[in-house]
């Protein structure tokens, strides 16, 4: 649905993005991650047809974003990062304007506007001027204008920023419900959000794509072994040897000991969960087990590892 090939954008002599390539399949929700200034917004602006790339091509729904810009713009809903809206306009008439500009017919428009106001939970403020709304409401009006024409592709730049936890949950549910009929590319800083919403991620750093693919596969690539961290109040020297006896354990590392409590990291093959055996061992040895958890399995750790690794290698 979205194909991006060696996209490059220069601002003067500074390259905002360099040789960015990725693709997003129809109906997928993809998270677009990266530190601030990595080039997320630039890439999204090019996809939305706001500005042309210096080099490279991008197609949305089979149309080139540069040469067939209008065709692309007919098929996307775009939510820019700072949610620019007209403060003087009232919510309902603003959404009606957007729907009309996007070519929704007069008869259908009324229904569509009412529907997105319900979905985005803004029906109660529909007659208020946008400038008088709270940040959370404005954010949802922004999202409503993106989906009001029922576009095939949604480009959302930080859709949940500035919302309170309840609103975040509601907006996430809304975005999740868009999967299937809509292809969504969303950028965010909140990594658990990506794990919750997205099938795939694209990680971008310093204007280049550093990793992309389904979340599970990325986690596997970065952390090929399952790692378990445990804290034990036990004689520190005896522990590693005993743990190594558990079948499948590849390594044991003692990280710290204080007040007789040691922290250990145990590695095993990915498909092997050694936690119950560790618990059993501790019980048999009369060690007091204070903590037992898997580590290095979340997207957050993958992200930090990849982005930090980039920095270290320079």
């Amino acid at each position: 649905m979205i194909e991006v090939q060696s996209l490059t954008k220069h601002y003067g002599t500074i390259a905002a993005i360099h040789d960015v390539s990725f693709s997003v399949k129809r109906g997928e929700i993809v998270g677009f991650l990266g530190p601030n200034g990595a080039g997320k917004t630039t890439t999204m602006r090019i996809l939305a047809g706001f500005m042309p790339a210096t080099q490279g091509t991008a197609t949305v729904a089979g149309y080139d974003v540069f040469t067939q810009s209008l065709e692309v713009r007919r098929r996307i809903g775009y939510l820019p990062e700072n949610v620019p809206l007209y403060p003087e306009m009232r919510v309902a008439s603003y959404l009606d304007f957007v729907a009309e500009v996007k070519g929704v017919g007069r008869a259908e428009r009324r229904r569509r506007v009412a529907e997105v106001m319900d979905r985005c939970l803004i029906a109660d403020v529909q007659h208020r001027p946008i400038g008088k709304l709270s940040k959370g409401y404005r954010q949802r009006v922004g999202l409503a204008q993106a989906i009001v024409s029922d576009p095939e592709v949604l480009i959302l730049d930080e859709p949940t920023i500035g919302l309170d936890p309840k609103q975040i949950a509601e907006i996430r549910a809304l975005i999740k419900s868009l999967a299937g009929q809509h292809t969504v590319i969303l950028s965010t800083h909140i990594l658990p959000e990506v794990s919750m919403l997205c099938q795939g991620v694209i990680i971008i750093n310093k204007g280049a794509v550093v990793a992309q693919g389904p979340i599970d596969r990325l986690v596997e690539q970065v952390f090929p072994r399952a790692r378990v961290q445990l804290q034990l109040a036990a004689p520190p020297d005896a522990v590693p040897a005993e743990i190594r006896r558990i079948p499948g354990v590849l390594s044991v590392e003692r990280q710290a000991v204080s007040d007789g409590v040691g922290t250990y990291v145990v590695e095993a093959p990915r498909d092997r969960d050694v936690r119950s055996e560790l618990f059993q061992l501790a019980a048999d040895q009369k060690w007091r087990l204070l903590e037992l958890r898997r580590i290095g399995m979340t997207l957050e750790e993958v992200f930090i590892r990849i982005v930090a690794g980039e920095e270290a290698s320079e």
Binding site: Y78, L85, E100, V101
Partner: protein, 256 residues
Amino acid sequence: MKVWPIFKKEMLLYFSSPVAYAVITLFLLIVGYFFYLYFVSFTLMSMQAAMNPGLARDLNVTDGIVRPLFANIVSIIVLFMMPMLTMRLFAEERKSGTIELLLTYPVRDGAVLIAKYLAALALYAIMLALTLLYPVTIAYFARLEWGPLFSGYLGLLLMGGAFLAVGLLASSLTENQIVAAFATFVVLLIFWVIGWSADYTGGLAGRVLSHLSLVDHFESFSKGVIDSRDVIYYVDFMVLALCLTRRSLEARRWKG
């Protein structure tokens, strides 16, 4: 062409901010004040003419009130007011970032431009239409020639239209509304006074200067003459400014 929805939006924004009301009110007040002055002085002249039939022969309301009002007063007020109507159009969208959404809707840049221009022109037409009250008042007391009145309004509309196009161009070049208004005013003022030096320059250069002057072309309209040269001049002015605005929008896209 998706001109209509954007046109409606611009009109809505005009009337949801105090700018439109302030400009219209101020315009009507100033024009009304000068109409009153001309009207009173014309009344005095006609009283004198009652005792002097020779004077009465040359006395009519078109030359006595309508023409000086349009040529000397309304045209100058329009020069001051038009920058205020256009300064917002692109500069504010750029500053608040709404341009990013507007230019990613399935609408050509040209249609956005035309819609904004027509909205400004419509507001200006409303302003002019409200001043019809003054000639109608005259027509109640005296026989008014409708021909020169019509050509005067047509001239004002064309001249103001050219001003608005320049204002739109200035607004597309900056994020700052004040800068946009000021730049518009300076450019218009240059084209306004350029004709003054024509009298002293003489020859070909003088004719060129006189032809470039925004105000010289208005004179024949106020006399009741619709000359195609004058119409073409204003239309050219408009088209040129709008084409440059389109280029400026395009350039802004590339700069990002």
